[in-house]
């Protein structure tokens, strides 16, 4: 009898705790999950795979972007209803991941208890965004912001990687039968500029500022993607894009040593076309140098929105101690101090 009472008490206590936890969770989710940009940053993000489709010469022409387990996406529908919130959208997290050629395939688990449900028969439209907390999504467009100043981050292997917080993706799907599979294909909605920088001569270079400027086109700021066409557009006037390298070492500079593997700096720009780019690098011992991104005839390179550009062979100007030729330029012309280790 005593044992029975004890078990009853334990069950009631467990039930009460469960109900309290359930109430807290429901309230929290309803309050947090919104279609406006949120301040919360998820720890998990997608990752460039470094793999994909190569050309006959072995160059990478299509790169797979891998899902990471627990990445968060949001799906909006014109008809399906979230039975937990009563809204027409739901948040989901990546449950399983598998590489699939040039694509990364994932399965989902709903964040809400039940999330989107089918209703009556008919055609359903679905729109999805990634990352879930950094975009705004309606039935007509997805909007997001490419920051004008960016940083690279360290992955779990202590390797510097692009900040995939800015690697926005968007997907649409249409279902004509509630029994049919629904495939969501997420397309990149950003342009990536991956610079490989080496140090010429001997010694080392220390970069304190890395800036890309267009004289004609916006590179950062707000943009939108039309749900109907997938076309990206922007009204931004921000024509400068900078990499904040202060987190790259204790001294707040990006150190590049001659003879080492080139360092990589990846900037994410708007998913719209741009051209007339000039790269400005400030550092020691070379001071401030600019490089126009032009072809051999002097024509400025045209960049297509949505692609990834792998810009290689960017050795910094010869170091002072290697040639001595730059000493006059740096000291006499610019009055800057010479740097030695």
């Amino acid at each position: 009898m005593a044992l029975k009472r004890t078990m009853q008490a334990a069950c009631l206590l467990a039930l009460a705790c469960g109900m309290l936890a359930g109430c807290k969770k429901d309230g929290g989710e309803k309050a947090n999950v919104q279609f406006s940009a949120a301040t919360k940053a998820d720890a998990t993000r997608t990752a460039y795979s470094g793999e994909g489709q190569t050309s006959a010469s072995g160059s990478l022409v299509k790169e797979r972007i891998d899902w990471v387990v627990d990445d968060a996406i949001t799906i909006l529908s014109d008809k399906a209803v979230n039975m937990t919130t009563g809204e027409k959208w739901g948040d989901y997290k990546i449950l399983t991941v598998a590489a699939n050629g040039v694509r990364s395939k994932a399965t989902l688990k709903p964040v809400d208890v039940n999330s989107l449900q089918w209703g009556e028969e008919g055609t359903y439209k679905f729109y999805a965004r990634y990352p879930a907390d950094a975009t705004k999504l309606t039935e007509t467009s997805m909007t997001a912001t490419i920051p004008a100043t960016q940083q690279m981050k360290k992955d779990e292997n202590d390797k510097w990687v692009p900040d995939m917080d800015n690697a926005f993706m968007f997907a649409t799907a249409t279902a004509t039968n509630t029994k049919d599979p629904v495939e969501l294909d997420f397309y990149p909605e950003f342009t990536a500029l991956q610079f490989e920088i080496g140090a010429g001569g001997n010694g080392e270079a220390k970069i304190s500022s890395f800036t890309l400027t267009s004289t004609s086109d916006p590179l950062a700021g707000d943009f939108s993607v039309a749900c109907a066409t997938g076309a990206a557009s922007t009204a931004s006037t921000t024509k400068t894009l900078s990499m904040d390298v202060t987190n790259r070492s204790d001294a707040g500079v990006l150190v590049i040593k001659a003879g080492d593997e080139p360092s990589t700096v990846t900037l994410f720009a708007l998913p719209t076309d741009f051209t007339n780019l000039t790269l400005t690098v400030v550092g020691q011992p070379f001071g401030t140098r600019t490089l126009k991104l032009a072809d051999k005839n002097g024509n400025m390179i045209a960049f297509t929105g949505g692609k990834k550009y792998w810009i290689k062979g960017l050795n910094l100007p010869e170091l002072l101690e290697a040639t001595g030729e730059d000493i006059n330029w740096d000291v006499e012309a610019r009055g800057e101090s010479i740097y030695w280790d």
Partner: protein
């Protein structure tokens, strides 16, 4: 002859159970259709620009 029985309100049914009933009524969860087909990232087109080659004007100023 009906007999009145005093009862107490039982604890609220767990939410999962309630929603499960509604789901069956409405036609099922969309996540099952999504997982049957898969959720994919589409690859990004890559273009190499090797500034050291003769195709480009590599000149620091």
């Amino acid at each position: 002859m009906f007999k009145t029985v005093k009862t107490y309100n039982p604890p609220r049914v767990l939410q999962e159970t309630e929603v499960q009933l509604e789901r069956d009524f409405l036609g099922g969860s969309v996540v099952e259709n999504l997982n049957e087909a898969g959720v994919y990232t589409m690859s990004q087109d890559v273009e190499e620009i090797d500034m050291e080659t003769e195709n480009f004007n590599f000149k620091w100023e």
